[in-house]
Subunit: 371 residues, 2 copies
């Protein structure tokens, strides 16, 4: 591999901004084609059907041999172990329903647009993940979590802004030891699909997707703050030289199941006039969703939707409301509030990398007279 | 629904062409985000793993209740039946391995670019489909195939160029009665994923994807040539006023498993100098693949690759060759020939709708010295 360029890590992590009226580039399209978004009508399901959950792969999907795979675990004191899938299967397992969302969801809706994976609003999905709590795994491996952070490395290997790397992210020890942080080997009761990290991945309920390291190969307790490439990249910055704030937990968001039927090209919707049930799902990584409001006039008025049963802390929650649809063009919006009082903004939340944009997604509907 | 516009069907079926240097539009991006391409590294698997097979949904994925679902079957003489999933399960079943490819695969590589679903080269996948041969199903339903064509209608409902429709396509009777044309209810041994047509879809081995009607609800024998919207749309035209030629069978194509590892944004590949195994897969709907050639100098020279075992008529076939990679920038190409003598072109095959572009896909590789 050629030597990495001499630019600073901070410089390397900055996204280019698209110019005014600059269309989506061939490079952005190639990312949109290979990384899968959830189509909006799939918001109708509590658990996202197989193959529709969003996927972002930084480099290539690795082809790992499950028989040869080992999870290397290392402590500060030199303790180390290498666990096989059979070793993991012998440990207590837990299943957690989790709504996972890419930190870049909504990036391509921003102006100016940061040039990277051009997500609209579909970089999300909900699954039941089954695996071994990381705390139990460390204990079984004889590795004491007595450091500052835990670094997780996956087998996804590539180059990003000139830096060759295995994808790696860290968590503070206290976060890593939460009982619902899993080394997961199953998704919705089946072995992980290859694109979701087969044979094992990290699941960190409540955090944006970049924390859930796929194709996990190494877990290391360290005594310092890990400053790998992906920690420089995933920061909220307004200006290129900002130190920025790390991207961590998922901000509140509500999305509607688009009513009626779509136009192939514009995706605008046609709805028949009369009573229409509007439903959707809402989630937040910072607290349980306690309120969802819906507007049928592009934010002019808001009405509280009825919330479905609580789904625990980390899976999206259904909401529903009625609408007496009158002929004409309408823009539908939804916004979520969580138990910490955080309210989803209706406008876009801009940052230089296009992270954590949880602005409401407008659903354009043409209501036509029945018959 | 508003009245359809007064433009002719032929006019409605024409794609707009993007202007010179016109970037991908927001509408094209929304299609790229919701319709999934197969990432190129998945070319390494004989059967495309769950969730990685390409999917094109014209309108919305329907939510069909499998208990209430019926397949309505109708003949010219007024004979009709409505079959449940249990009725289908009682009929003889067959499994066929099929490489399926969207007719629009490669559209976004064309210049000028027809504005529609902007596929690069990943609108493809291979699966084992299990279902009831259509011929047996018609016989069991007491419907005689004594017409000219068989029309297949799905539950996917929407608007396309002003025409509200359920997605519908027809086959000539002789084609529809081929013993490997299936009403499939399983993909790779499991019930169809919702996005692949649950609970039942048509599978027409060898034809481009538009023929394999998903969410099938109606099968009707007719005595005329069906001229529905999708038959106007899927035609090869050079000029807007051409009558055009119907898109039918998949043209030969070979694709490489990209060697080495990628850059996140450009997807360009880095390979270490020395012996490199180049592998890939090739397919054709017009005849079995009998030859694959590989070039490592952008088409300057071609060498025959070794073909893997025959996979039958309709599933892709592995090929492999060696390459002594020397440092520098290289463009790799592959091209397939089938038993009918059809050779894949190395340049793009342009048509007004962007269909059946089976030009070779360049794989850009930077070879670096080892160590």
């Amino acid at each position: 591999m050629a030597s990495p360029p001499t630019r600073s890590r901070d410089e390397l992590a900055r996204a280019r901004l698209a110019g005014p009226d600059e269309g989506i580039s061939a490079e952005e399209l190639s990312l949109a084609a290979r990384n899968h978004a959830m189509p909006m009508e799939a918001m109708r399901w509590d658990l996202t059907p197989v193959g529709l959950h969003y996927v972002l792969v930084h480099y290539d999907i690795p082809a790992l041999d499950p028989a040869a795979w080992r999870l290397r675990v290392a402590g500060l004191d030199g303790s180390a172990a290498a666990l096989s899938l059979a070793d993991l299967a012998a440990l207590p397992r837990r299943t957690v329903a989790v709504t996972m969302e890419c930190a870049g969801n909504g990036r391509a809706l921003l102006e100016p647009r940061p040039v990277s994976q051009p997500w609209l609003s579909g970089a999300v999905g909900t699954a039941e993940w089954t695996g071994v709590p990381l705390a139990d795994l460390l204990a079984a491996a004889g590795v004491r979590p007595d450091g500052l952070e835990v670094v997780f490395t996956g087998a996804d290997h590539g180059v990003e802004r000139g830096v060759e790397q295995d994808y790696a992210r860290a968590l503070p020890v206290a976060e890593a030891l939460r009982p619902d942080v899993l080394v997961a080997t199953e998704m919705n009761g089946a072995p992980l699909p290859v694109q979701h990290g087969f044979p094992a991945r990290l699941v960190v309920p409540g955090w944006y997707g970049m924390a859930h390291v796929k194709w996990l190969t190494d877990v290391a307790v360290v005594d310092h703050e890990f400053d790998g490439f992906q920690h420089q990249a995933y920061r909220l910055r307004q200006e290129p030289d900002d130190e920025g704030v790390p991207v961590t937990r998922i901000l509140p968001r509500a999305l509607l199941v688009p009513p009626g039927f779509p136009d192939f090209m514009t995706r605008d919707r046609t709805v028949t006039a009369g009573p229409v049930a509007l439903t959707g799902r809402a989630w937040s990584g910072t607290g349980e969703v306690t309120r969802v409001e819906v507007s049928t006039d592009d934010g002019g008025h808001w009405a509280d939707a009825e919330l479905g049963p609580s789904t625990g802390r980390y899976a999206w929650r259904e909401f529903r409301t009625g609408w007496d649809a009158e002929p004409g063009d309408h823009v539908l919006l939804a916004r979520a509030t969580d138990e910490t009082g955080q309210v989803q903004p209706t406008g876009p939340a801009w940052s230089r990398g296009g992270f954590a944009n949880n602005g409401s997604e407008p659903v354009r509907v043409r209501v036509v007279a029945s018959g």
